[in-house]
Amino acid sequence: MNLRFGRILATTVAIVVGLFILASTFVAEWPGEIFGLSGLINQVSLLFISWVTIVAAFALFLGFANVISVHWNRIQTRKPGALYSIVLLIALAATLAVGFLSGGPNSNPSQFIFDFILQPLESTFFALLAIFIATAAFRAFRVRNLETLIFVLFTVIVLLGQVPIGIYLWAELPVIKDWILNVPALAGVRGILLGVALGTIATGLRVLVGTDRPYTDQK
């Protein structure tokens, strides 16, 4: 009984909040008042959006607990990589302690961690992309069927059209490259984006009318 009531409540909340947020996007673009309700719709939807921030912050807290739980379990069961888990938990505790003791995330010690440890590590890690692109391209360039043959052909033309040597090989290469990027590639991207937009709207509508309830335990 309680479970059923919970489902009904969750569905009602989702539909009402969803309708308010949807209405606010139309109200924001509509010139003038809509039955004198524009102000109310805007205020209520802003309130709902501010609640999202609170929920997200609480979710972050639960995520924090999840990280500790997963890595503590790894250490206890001495799974492979337990040493990394120890390092992670120490780093986590140290960053938290620095944040608390130095006066929050905007303090100098906290900023030091972000500016001189975290950001350089992230940049270094993303620099690996160059190597990964090369190895992925090596695999992708193996011609297995007609599809991969077209893939390789177009990639080689775009690659040669992009670099200065291309124009020396054949003066038309940059022109063909531009045509590939502006006509078939752009058409393909627009087709994909159109499909994605329709898929997104359909997902939203299903949730909005309550026929799809991923937030409850009902299938």
Partner: protein
């Protein structure tokens, strides 16, 4: 301005009408035959493969959230999790699920809990394999790469919102010889998926999980509504091109 708002509103109403119309039809038993998508066929066999190999199945839900424009992408991954969780409730082998946003983690936990029903002990065990890695894309990718290496993953599914970091994870899976299905909606990520995954879900295909994996009537109806809207948009575009070319309307 007013006309474009009105047009968008009418578009939504039409879409909603089609969704409800096709839902009623599908519920009456008029189900269409869906074209075969190889990636979903592969996903259906992944749990079995992982059990046979005695290794793990990993599902990445990406870097999307449940509270911004990436919600639909995150939901697409969660529908796949729904299917895998149902299978794991039968087999007792839960998938390892990773994500970059804690709101998605809560949804993933709810999905797993609902699959296990009243069996709270097994649900608690499955919870341990739902892992929030880190909010930054680079840190998330590093965590998943580590997970793919250390947890001896046999089959890997990545469906959700991904950026450039996809390549780091996808390439790691490819190098390790892991069976790998990848899917994303961002056209900039699709070449990375194409280059690394064995089976791909390109663009809107990621939203079709509920229809293909679980045969949910409302999801099947949703695909029919999307197809109808696509035809309408296509006809309007062609009509607009013809009318502009013939000078009937001014471009």
């Amino acid at each position: 301005m007013a006309s474009s708002v009105l047009l968008a509103f009418l578009f939504l109403l039409l879409f909603l009408g089609l969704l409800l119309f096709f839902s009623a039809r599908v519920n009456r038993g008029q189900k269409p035959s869906l074209r075969r998508i190889q990636a979903f066929e592969a996903i259906k066999g992944f749990t079995g493969r992982a059990i046979e190999a005695g290794r793990a199945l990993h599902l990445s839900l990406g870097t999307g959230s449940m509270a911004d424009i990436t919600t639909a992408d995150s939901l697409a991954g969660l529908y796949t999790l729904d299917y895998l969780a149902d299978q794991s409730a039968t087999t007792g082998i839960p998938p390892i699920v990773s994500m970059a946003d804690p709101t998605v983690m809560l949804m993933a936990q709810n999905t797993v809990r609902s699959a296990y029903g009243s069996d709270k002990v097994k649900a608690a065990e499955a919870y341990r394999d739902i892992r929030w890695i880190a909010p930054q894309p680079a840190a998330y990718a590093a965590g998943v790469m580590n997970l793919l290496s250390l947890d001896e993953v046999e089959t890997n599914i990545m469906i959700g919102k991904f950026g450039d970091e996809y390549l780091l994870m996808g390439e790691t899976a490819a190098r390790r010889g892991t069976s790998h299905v990848g899917g994303a909606s961002d056209p900039n990520t699709l070449p990375f998926i194409y280059a690394t995954a064995q089976e791909t879900l390109l663009g809107e295909e990621i939203y079709a999980g509920g229809a293909y994996l679980q045969k949910r009537p409302v999801h099947i109806a949703s695909l029919l509504a999307q197809d109808t809207m696509r035809w309408i948009i296509g006809i309007v575009i062609l009509g607009g091109v013809a009318a502009t070319s013939l000078g009937i309307i001014n471009g």
